[in-house]
């Protein structure tokens, strides 16, 4: 399952939003997700992917797909750091 789908499922489960609404929505606003609900989602994502999301990482994030891109970037960065530490 890719990151975007994982985030959609997590959002549907945590925020009680129908999956088809999330599939259609292009922004958080269209999906009915306000900034406080996004905060819940971010906390859940940090736990799920084992990453720490900083406020600066969220600059320009307006949708679930933007958030998925941020998570992907942070996961890649974390795995690189892990490989470097092991090497």
């Amino acid at each position: 399952m890719d990151t975007f789908t994982t985030i959609q499922r997590l959002a549907a489960e945590r925020l009680d939003i129908p999956m088809d609404t999330l599939l259609r929505a292009r922004t958080f606003g269209e999906a009915g997700i306000d900034s406080l609900a996004t905060l819940d989602l971010i906390t859940a994502l940090e736990g799920r992917f084992g990453i720490a999301i900083a406020p600066e990482d969220l600059d320009g994030v307006h949708s679930l797909s933007d958030l998925a891109a941020v998570v992907d970037r942070l996961v890649t960065r974390a795995s690189h750091a892990c490989e470097e530490a092991l090497a």
Binding site: S35, L36, I53, P55, D57
Partner: protein
């Protein structure tokens, strides 16, 4: 205070008095008070009339003068200003909160010279001097940042939107102070409606949400201009979110926000001319039904239902029990 600062203070004080006296003659198109009164016309329980229009415009001028004056002061002068020209009310209530270890949200409406109020409140805090603020980064922040820096306060300006919300949440998790102005109505998607000035006002739930999630105390802080370029700061009784911890989150958010806005309303009723949102108020609030006949016991039944649904209400106002018995 130094000689130069005293001269400047006297000059500003003179302008302050002259402006306050001359405002009835300001042209209508410049008259914010007149516009606010027009917006409020026909509403029950809100201030209105020529006296209020004049007082409102005078308040805007006085607050602007105060801020300009405070921005001209050097660090030692600002400290002297905070000690000599600022009077405090209710600071003792919040002292244990300021001295404690839990995070604190300083909450204020858009009212009076608010930035000076925050600097003054921070001046009263001992030890902890890190404030996090949501401020318009484009226009106001450089000036406000300068004021805080001269006040000896380590102020962090938070970004707007999602990064700001996350930064605020993290700051409270580190037991820092957060400044919030929950009566901002420009960009609100999710709101809750609260009784305020006889109407239902739509407000952002952010302050209550943060307080509940991080167990942060909410301390209402309100500043009003005083005579001769002084400031009167009212520090309200701290609101503990743990009182509502046993309730479901939406209900707790409502009750906590209600408690905060009750404090705001009480203070705003003392001097309504200092509130900046009178023009917006009719648009962001809705009328509630007028009271019924005296022999109609529907309001009492409604009150009894509310008391049963919210036991805290009876704890706060024991007299209610006599009414609804």
């Amino acid at each position: 205070m130094g000689v130069a600062a005293t001269v400047i203070a006297k000059a500003y004080g003179a302008v302050d008095m002259a402006v306050a006296a001359a405002t009835p003659f300001a042209q209508k198109r410049f008259h914010q008070g007149w516009r606010a009164c027009q917006a409020l016309s026909g509403m029950r329980d809100t201030p209105s009339g020529p006296y209020f229009a004049r007082a409102l415009l005078a308040s805007r001028w006085r607050c602007a003068l105060l801020l300009r004056y405070a921005l001209r002061l050097t660090r030692p002068q600002l400290r002297t200003f905070l000690e000599d020209r600022v009077t405090y009310e209710g600071a003792a209530y919040a002292q244990h909160v300021f001295n404690g270890t839990r995070p604190v949200i300083l909450a204020a409406p858009h009212y009076g010279p608010a930035p000076i109020g925050f600097v003054a409140a921070a001046h009263r805090m001992s030890g902890r001097r890190t404030l996090n603020l949501f401020y318009d980064t484009q226009h106001l922040a450089p000036q406000i940042a300068l004021l805080f820096e001269r006040g000896g306060i380590d102020a962090t300006t938070l970004l707007d939107g999602l990064p700001g919300v996350l930064a605020a949440s993290r700051a409270l998790s580190r037991n820092e102070f957060l400044v919030m102005m929950p009566d901002a109505f420009d960009d609100i998607t999710q709101t809750l409606a609260l009784p305020f000035y006889g109407r239902m006002l739509r407000v952002a739930p952010g302050t209550a949400f943060f307080a509940l999630r991080t167990s942060a105390w909410i301390v209402p802080v309100m500043a009003t201009p005083a005579r001769q370029l002084g400031v009167h700061v009212t520090i309200g009784r701290p609101i503990d979110p743990l009182r509502f911890a046993g309730l479901e989150e939406p209900q707790a958010i409502f009750l906590l926000s209600r408690a905060l806005f009750t404090t705001f309303e009480r203070e705003i009723r003392r001097a309504p001319e200092h509130w900046y949102n009178w023009e917006t108020f009719p648009r962001v609030s809705t009328c509630v039904a007028p009271p019924g006949r005296l022999d109609d016991d529907a309001p009492l039944r409604l009150l009894r239902d509310k008391c049963e649904a919210s036991p805290y209400l009876l704890q706060d106002v024991p007299e209610l029990e006599i009414l609804v018995r």
